[in-house]
Structures are given as structure tokens and as C-alpha cells.
Symmetry: C4
Subunit: 213 residues, 4 copies
């Protein structure tokens, strides 16, 4: 095996498996919540309108599912974008990524908590701390990979590396503000959480950089 | 990295991950429903014929499973065919696909609803609306990718793009008719739903185009 | 894109997704059964020996899990071997494979049924019929793919195609005999099921053919 | 098909599917445990502090989840490293790997058992035996693949093969000691289990060998 082939084998095989594992974890997070929404179980002898009423009563669960889906989606897209630039891996990087996945698996839990107890500061704070942890782990994944081009292409643009860092850190920063706001009024915190989601979904400067490549 | 290699990296990595995520979601949808069918739990001191009777009583659950499987299968095959032509991706495309997956994850729910309450208009309408949403999202995925060859090969045949659009839209169109029919007689709606499934499974002109390539 | 590259793209992309979906379904079948084995929930004030006793009482569930795992494993290895030779795909082939996966997802159900009611003919027959269906679907997958080299390499050895067919059909044939035997004594049926498993696990002539390539 | 292409097809296809299956199993093990942590279900008319109290009461479940995650993570990283060198496969190798996965799927069970009954020798012994089985299966996977270069590159360094063997065997060896220690004091066993985890996570000589390649 030539040195070139060898390196390709290392780069290809290794990041492909982290990505496969990550996509598996995300796919389960995306799908499994639905299976916890129970079908209404009604007797045959009630008025037909009752079924419609029972389905409407499931509304908060549908909403909580949609929200979890979008939050997990934001991080899946972010993870996807980061791994687009990663060429190699090492033990610490595998573990940083596993830590990230460990907290991603908790997204349905803390989103459901927020959905069920949105008026209470405890739920708002738990949710914010959770998002801060996920954001910081994603930041660690990216900065560990890019530091002195450890696991990325040597030609990667340093400005781009910096720009992505700022973009990732925005979510934890907003969550710190939202946690602070929760001591005044939890509604302001909820509004901030929604703004963060919108920021990551709407295409921005990073996508123009992306499509220019 | 040459420009050619760069482009390959983008095309390869990126669509491979959307596909991996999608296949993961579909695999869970395909499999998890079975785990909700409970084994009959009978005491040792009853007549042997009772086990057979209990298994026969599970019949509606088996049927609902088979139906969900076929519906999810139709959309998996459709998704598969579409992604055969997609070469690149961007943020909006990732989100359109995530939206599609979000509603695919609900297929077992609304199919079970239809199986359990097939005589009631509410269930028939919910099921139809669900299929319309999935169909429209798949349509958006395809038309976003193909518009001005945004994410597909420039040499793709415009007639083929058009033909696939019509094929995708047939399901939502039939569901609109089925919802209308439900105001007269829900049996007509059910018949229409079955016809739509049959249409997508039986090989047609698209498969001849396919095998000619 | 040259014609050669184009064909590679079709072959690569397409069978890779069936395989990804199949591996996802198998992974869930392999793993999910464990989550249905409940941890014993004992109070702190009982004698320590009681925990050991409760764990021993879980023995039939562990055995049923191991059996399901091995049966699903046999079919995963078979599916793996078959897809090693498949180069292309078409709509009917996708559906044959989906049908196969649909019944694979039921392996934990009918194995648990057999484990729980191994003395009753109904369970023995249901299990046998289930294995016959899976075997016939795998046979259809292989014969559809190889007929006039439809989806396989033109250079494939016809003797090999034939040999694999016989190997696949052995399981359904043995199950027919086992179902017949159940009318006399269900123990003979159980013995036959175990022999079939052993036959597929022990390396045989096919593996010598395999390693010679 | 030239001989070179043929070999690539065998190497690529085959180990890619074992890896896909393994990653699927690991992804489910990593994620599914979270879904068993129930959200506290409290009435609206209780003091707000009660929610915080209920969340704190979930602490042992979070800890057990984190521990399962780390243990499964250690074996995923190990499996990942081993498969980096595997080029081919055969029937027995597939089954060794399936056996390994079968016991990986049990990690959440025996970790939860240890978390719930950490003061009792039965739980400590079951956990240790489980880790010994997993370690021995991983050892078999590696030594079967490397014996006379059966499934690996012929140029692989024999010292490296040996070194990895020792590294894998350390966990079962420590578990044997831990089981012995449990007859004196179960706390010593727990301490040993933690040391083993730390040993595998902290980068060591193997990672220097790795990065030198």
C-alpha cells in the first residue's frame, strides 16, 4: 500500500464511522419520540366528535415533538457542516464526539420538560444549561479538529475556522442570557430560545461562503 | 486539492449523510411498530385452542403494520429514486428533507388511527392530510433540487424532471379527492387510498426510463 | 459523465441504500429485544440471595433473546452474502427486499411465542410458517436478481447461482417437515429447527467457494 | 472484472456492512436508554420547588446512563480501531462479530443492575462476567482476523498485533481481579471497574503508534 492510499484509508474509514454512528443516534432521536404519542383508545359507542376532541388534546405532544425535531435538526446540520471539513480522527476526537452525542440523546427529554412546564423557571434553566453543554461540546469538536490543522485540510481558510467558531458559540451565549432573563420573566427566555432556532435555520453568510466553494 | 476532487468531496460526503439519516429513520419506522404488538400472555391451565384464538385476535394489528410498512415503503422507494439524481446539497435542502422525515416518522401513528377508526371521517381526513403533507414535501425536495439544476447533474433530461413531478403529485391529488369523497362515504376514500398504493408499487413508465439509462 | 462512471454511480448508490436500510432494520431487531427485559425491582430490606433468584428467573427471556439473535443473524449473513453479488437494482427488487425486511422485523415476535409456548402446536406451526415465508422471500430476492443476470455480474458462475438457491431452500423445506412432525410430536419439530440453525452457522462448501475467489 | 477490482469489491462491500450493522447496534444502545427516563408528571397545584426535587431524584438514572454510555463508548472505539485494519471477512468472522454485538446490546442492562444494586455482590459479579465476555469476544475478533494475516493486510506489524491483544485483554484480567475482590469488599471491585474505564479513555502508547502512521 502506498503512503497516499494508506492515508486515504485512514481518512475515509475513520470519519465515515463516526458519521454513521452520529447519523444513527440522530435518526433514533428524530423518530422515537413519535412512538411515545399514544393513539386514543375509545369505545365504539361514543359520539364521533369525541375522536376529534381526543386528537386535538394531543396537540402539546405534537408541538413538543416538532420542537425537539427542529433543535436536533439544527445540531445535525451543524455536525454535518463541521464533518464536511474533517479528514482524520484520533481517540480524543472520538470521545468529544461521543460526548456530544450523549447530550443530543437527551434533547427529547429536556424539550418535553420545557413543553410540559414552560411556566416554571426550573424547566427553563435545565433546558438552557442543556443547550449550553451541547453547544460547548460542538465548539470543542470543531476547535480540537482545526487547531493547528490537526484533523482538517491544511489549506482550510483560518477566517472560515474563526467564523464557524463564532457561529457555534452564539447559541450558548444566547442561552446564558436566556437563563439570566428567566429570573425576571420566563417568557423572555422562551422568546430567546425561539430566536436562536430561527437564526440557525435561516440561511446566512456561511451558506454564501459554502456555495462559493 | 484540485477543483474536481473538491467537488467530489462535497457531492459524496454530503448526500451520503442525508441518505444515511433518512435510511435510519425509515429503518426505525419499518421495525419499531412490531415491538408494540404484544405477545398473548396466557396461563398454562387453559385449553390449547385459546392461544390460536388470541393470535387471530391480533389480526388488525398485523394488518395495520403491513399497511404502514407499504406506505413508508412507497415513500422510501420514491426518496431513493430522487436521491439517485441529487449531487450536492445546501442548508434549505437539508431542512426540506428533515421536514419530510419528520412526517414520515408519523406514518405508523396515522395508519394505526385509520386502522382503528376506519369508519369515522375524522380518521380518514387526518390520514389524507398527512399523506398530502408528505407528498408535498417530497415534491418540494425534488423541485428545489432540480430548479435551474441547483443540486442535480446539468445534463438531466427536463422531461424526466417534469414527469417525476407529476408522478409525485398524483398522491396528494388523489388524497384531496379522497377527503372530498369522505363527506359522502368513507368507503370510497379507503378505496382511493388503496388505489394510490397500488399505483406506486406496480412498475410503470418511469421504470422503463430507469432501465434504459 | 462517461457511461462507465454513470453505471458505477447507479450500481454504487442504489445497492448501498438497500443495504443501509437492511442493516438498520437488522440492528434494531438485534438490539431492541434486550430493552424489553426488565431489571428486577426489589426493596432494600430483603435478603441478598433474592436478587440472584430474580436474575435466574429471567433465564427464559435471555434464551429467547439469544435464539432470536441467532435466527436474525443467519438471515443477515445470508442477505450479506447475496448482496455481495448484486450490482444494480430495480423497483420490484426493492419491494422484494422490503417484503423480506418486513418479516425479519417479526422474528422477535414469533421466537418469543415459541419460547413461551414451546409445548403447543400452534406456536410451533406459526414459527415454521414464518421461517418458510422469510426463506421464500430470500429465495425470490436471489432468483430475481440472478435470472438472466438481471442485477448481477454477467460472469457469475451458473453453478454457484444454483448452489445458493438450494442452500436457501433448505430452511423452508426443513420447516415444512417440522410442521408435519408437529402433528406427531412437537419435540421433533423443535429439534429440526435447531438442526437448521446449526447447518447455516457451521462453515460449509459455500465458504470454500467463497474463500477461493 | 479485473482481479484488483474484484478484491476491492470484496474488501469494500463486506467490511462496510459489518461496520454499518455494528454502528447501528451501538447507536441504539447509546440512545435508547434515555427514552426509559420518565419525565416527572406533576399536578399544576403544587409548589414550584417540587419539580426541582423530582429532577434531582432522577440523578441515579442519569449517572447509570452516563456510565453505560462510556462503557459502550470504550468498546465502540476499540471496535473502530480493530476494523481499521480488517480488509476481508468470512462466515466465522461475521459470527464472532455478531456475538460481540449480542453482548454489547446487554450493556445497559448490566450497568443499570450495577447502578441499582451496587452494594450487592451478585450485581458486581454479573457486571464483571459480562465485561469479561465482551472483552474475550473482542479478543477473538482481533486474533481471528490477524492470525496468519487471515483478514488483514499482510504488511501489518506483528508487534502491533501483539500490543493490541494485550490492550484488549487488560479489561477481562482486571475484571477477574475485581470479581475476586468482591468476596472481600465490593467497593474495591467498583474502584477497579472505574480504573479500567479511565485506562481505555486516556490516550496512551497505542495512540502515538496510531498518529505516527
Amino acid at each position: 500500500m502506498t503512503s497516499r492510499e494508506n492515508q486515504e484509508a485512514i481518512a475515509g474509514l475513520t470519519t465515515s464511522r463516526i458519521q454513521a454512528l452520529s447519523d444513527g443516534v440522530f435518526a433514533i432521536v428524530f423518530t422515537l419520540m413519535v412512538f411515545q404519542i399514544r393513539l386514543p383508545d375509545l369505545s365504539a359507542s361514543r359520539p364521533p366528535a369525541e375522536l376529534a376532541r381526543h386528537l386535538r388534546a394531543l396537540w402539546p405532544e405534537f408541538l413538543s415533538y416538532a420542537l425537539s425535531f427542529i433543535i436536533a435538526g439544527v445540531f445535525w446540520v451543524g455536525h454535518h457542516n463541521i464533518f464536511h471539513y474533517v479528514r482524520r480522527t484520533d481517540r480524543l476526537f472520538l470521545w468529544l464526539n461521543l460526548g456530544f452525542l450523549m447530550f443530543i440523546a437527551f434533547v427529547p427529554f429536556s424539550t418535553a420538560l420545557l413543553g410540559r412546564y414552560s411556566q416554571e423557571q426550573v424547566a427553563v434553566v435545565v433546558y438552557g444549561v442543556h443547550l449550553i453543554i451541547i453547544g460547548m461540546l460542538l465548539y470543542l469538536v470543531w476547535s480540537y479538529a482545526t487547531r493547528r490543522h490537526r484533523l482538517v485540510d491544511p489549506q482550510i481558510d483560518p477566517d472560515f475556522v474563526h467564523f464557524v467558531k463564532g457561529r457555534i458559540l452564539l447559541s450558548p451565549a444566547a442561552c446564558v442570557v436566556a437563563i439570566g432573563a428567566s429570573f425576571v420573566n420566563v417568557r423572555w427566555s422562551l422568546l430567546l430560545y425561539l430566536l436562536v432556532l430561527a437564526f440557525y435555520i435561516v440561511p446566512g453568510r456561511i451558506d454564501r461562503l459554502w456555495s462559493r466553494r
